[in-house]
């Protein structure tokens, strides 16, 4: 009897050690430390209400970074997410006026998938580098958004969307439930499905993966399509939260989406990492922003500290290999 108990507890201990020792644990630790730091600066932050608020705001970045994580895992990058977000938001608010919110949501989802698919096709079949393709797409989307709105976005978010973004369910904000559900989806996709393994394979070495029989092109198009989808979903959430859409609303999310992924432990070259870390990365970025706001730094200081923190985190992870003959 005693031995059995001892075995069970040692299995538990070894599992616990595995979880705590995982690279992702470092990121979560940093996230907690930063949160505590923010609380020390502003004691009001040590409240359940604030944590809820924090997680809701971080969820917008978190959902956007889902697609970015997938794309970066394949060794690419998606610079069009900020305007995909914007376009999704304006379509939502403007279409609701005339065609109703259901038609609007369906359109937004289709548009998001379409944007991503076009990105993927340009990257795979036209052989355009992801950086350049998504950059060009970003310019195109910016124009489309401006033309569609005629310069001023109209309309407001429908009530049901505002409820999702602002109300609570069972004590936790619905937005956080949404983020949680989507996170589970993405993490399961990456870790338990074949597609997930293919994504990692392409990121590790896309020549080898192609020779192994993986249809790189299809997987890549899917990954970019998902990135477009998550971008518009994020746009919907933000619109629901603020009630409106406006031009340029995605700009402040673009670089942080990349930073969140990298801080979360995913290698920018692809093949390593995952969304679990990105979640913590998104929260870290948001907490960092709140700390900078508390310290009442002017724009100059904020930029400098933002950049320095990212560098600091990168250096901490330092996984470069020394060149040896």
């Amino acid at each position: 009897m005693k031995n059995r108990d001892a075995n069970q507890s040692s299995v538990f201990m070894s599992r616990l050690k595995a979880i705590l020792g995982a690279p992702v644990a470092k990121v979560y630790l940093m996230m907690l430390l930063l949160y505590v730091a923010s609380g020390l600066l502003e004691p009001n932050y040590f409240s359940y209400g604030h944590i809820m608020q924090l997680l809701v705001m971080a969820s917008f970045l978190g959902i956007l970074a889902m697609g970015q994580t997938l794309v970066i895992l394949t060794g690419g990058i998606d610079l069009s997410v900020s305007y995909a977000l914007n376009l999704g938001a304006v379509i939502m608010t403007q279409m609701t006026i005339e065609q109703g919110s259901l038609a609007a949501v369906v359109t937004v989802i289709i548009v998001g998938l379409l944007i991503g698919t076009l990105n993927g096709l340009g990257i795979t079949y036209l052989n355009i580098h992801p950086l350049v393709m998504t950059l060009a797409m970003s310019s195109i989307l910016k124009s489309v958004t401006y033309v569609y709105t005629g310069g001023t976005p109209k309309g407001t978010a429908p009530d049901w969307l505002r409820t999702i973004a602002t109300e609570s369910f069972l004590g936790v904000k619905i937005a956080i439930w949404v983020w949680l559900a989507l996170s589970v989806f993405v993490i399961v996709l990456l870790t338990k499905t074949t597609i997930g393994r293919k994504i990692y394979a392409i990121g590790n070495n896309n020549t080898v993966s192609l020779l192994s029989g993986i249809k790189n092109n299809r997987v890549l198009v899917l990954v970019y399509a998902l990135s477009g989808l998550f971008a518009v979903l994020s746009g919907l959430m933000i619109t629901g939260f603020s009630g409106l859409s406006y031009l340029g609303m995605g700009d402040i999310y673009l670089l942080p989406s990349i930073a969140a992924v990298v801080i979360g432990g995913t290698s920018i070259l692809g093949g390593r990492g995952g969304y679990t870390g990105t979640i913590a990365g998104a929260v870290i970025i948001y907490v960092l922003m709140t700390i900078l706001t508390i310290l009442d730094l002017k724009d100059a200081g904020r930029q400098i500290i933002y950049g320095l923190v990212i560098l600091f985190v990168l250096i901490l992870y330092g996984n470069g290999k020394k060149l040896r003959a």
């Binding site: 340009g122 393709m133 002017k298």
Partner: protein
């Protein structure tokens, strides 16, 4: 029986072969120059005073800042890296230049001395910023894309600290010298461009540093085992990127006669687009600055064209994006067309 060729015939055959090789190797760059010629013709057709003295000046002025930024980016991309802080460095140097040029005149006792001193300080700042980039990338063995992303933030922050709002004072003579004409006829920007192509790029390309840069782009490990000092080369590349970004910043100061810490963000992505358009692959080792110049001209002039044609500003971004995609597809479509021909023949 093989036909005996005369000596002259043989020479011509060798020349033909050399031409073929040249075209094949530089195919993407030649495509870029082809597109550039088309854009130039369209530009000339639309600007009424193109063939007067002002035509060339406006072209060169419009593209010179991007052209120099593209030089900075070309060097980095050739080593298969990327520098996302180019725009921020231009903004930083632009802000510093516009802020200190006037005080420096008083400090150094004369406008010319002040301007020269400012230029030295600005160039040193740029080189230092680039050196920091290189230092972090080389010593901590981190990926350039994310390091330069972070340092871009830092540089912009410093620029905002030095120059919280756009402005600053720039002596009229300075703007005239760099944005005007020399000897009353030749646009200064053209001279600057010629300088950077012939006195900077070509010697650099033939130097050992240049060879090392191409070697690293072709394969870092291979370059390393060949005995090339990869670390030192990379440090040089990023430092030079900073130095050239500072040059672009000085030129921007001459053109806008003010400093704007946030106004240079577009240069980063446009410099990458110019480099890629010009035939240099982002994977490195192939291409060169000659192509990037064509890329810079294309990007700068297309915007001017759109303005001529009265395309509403709403559409301008999108059209630029589409043109970028189309220009890059030309190479791919050409390959597909060749394949088709081979199959159906």
């Amino acid at each position: 029986m093989r036909r005996l060729e005369s000596l002259r015939g043989k020479r011509m055959a060798v020349k033909r072969k050399k031409t073929t090789i040249f075209i094949r190797r530089n195919r993407d760059t030649l495509i870029a120059y082809g597109i550039m010629l088309v854009v130039l013709v369209l530009f000339a057709a639309n600007q009424n005073d193109f063939f007067t003295r002002y035509g060339p000046q406006s072209i060169f002025n419009q593209m010179i800042t991007l052209a120099i930024a593209a030089l900075a980016q070309t060097l980095v991309v050739l080593t298969s890296g990327i520098d996302l802080s180019v725009g921020a460095m231009i903004g930083l140097t632009n802000s510093i230049a516009a802020t200190i040029m006037d005080p420096m005149a008083q400090f150094a006792g004369g406008k010319l001395a002040g301007v020269l001193l400012t230029m030295v300080i600005v160039l040193a700042t740029g080189a230092l910023a680039g050196f920091l980039n290189g230092l972090i990338i080389v010593f901590f063995r981190l990926q350039p894309i994310i390091v330069t992303l972070a340092t871009a933030s830092v540089f912009t922050g410093i620029a905002l600290y030095i120059r919280p709002t756009p402005g600053g004072k720039v002596p009229y003579e300075y703007t005239q010298f760099f944005a005007g004409r020399l000897f009353g006829y030749i646009p200064s920007s053209a001279v600057v461009l010629a300088f950077f192509i012939f006195a900077v790029w070509i010697p650099l390309r033939r130097s050992r540093l240049g060879q090392s840069i191409y070697a690293i782009g072709g394969g870092e490990y291979s370059a390393f085992v060949t005995g090339i000092d990869v670390n030192r080369t990379k440090l040089w590349v990023y430092t030079l990127s900073g130095l050239f970004s500072a040059c672009a910043g000085l030129l921007l100061t001459a053109q806008t006669a003010s400093g704007d810490p946030l106004g240079s963000e577009l240069f980063t992505l446009n410099s990458i687009a110019a480099v890629v358009l010009g035939g240099t692959a982002l994977t490195g080792g192939k291409g060169g600055y000659v192509g990037s110049v064509a890329g810079a001209v294309i990007l700068s002039l297309v915007l001017g064209l759109l303005i001529f044609w009265g395309v509403p500003s709403f559409y301008q971004n999108g059209v630029q994006g589409i043109i970028l995609i189309l220009a890059l597809s030309v190479g791919v479509l050409q390959k597909l067309w060749k394949k088709r021909k081979a199959i159906t023949d």
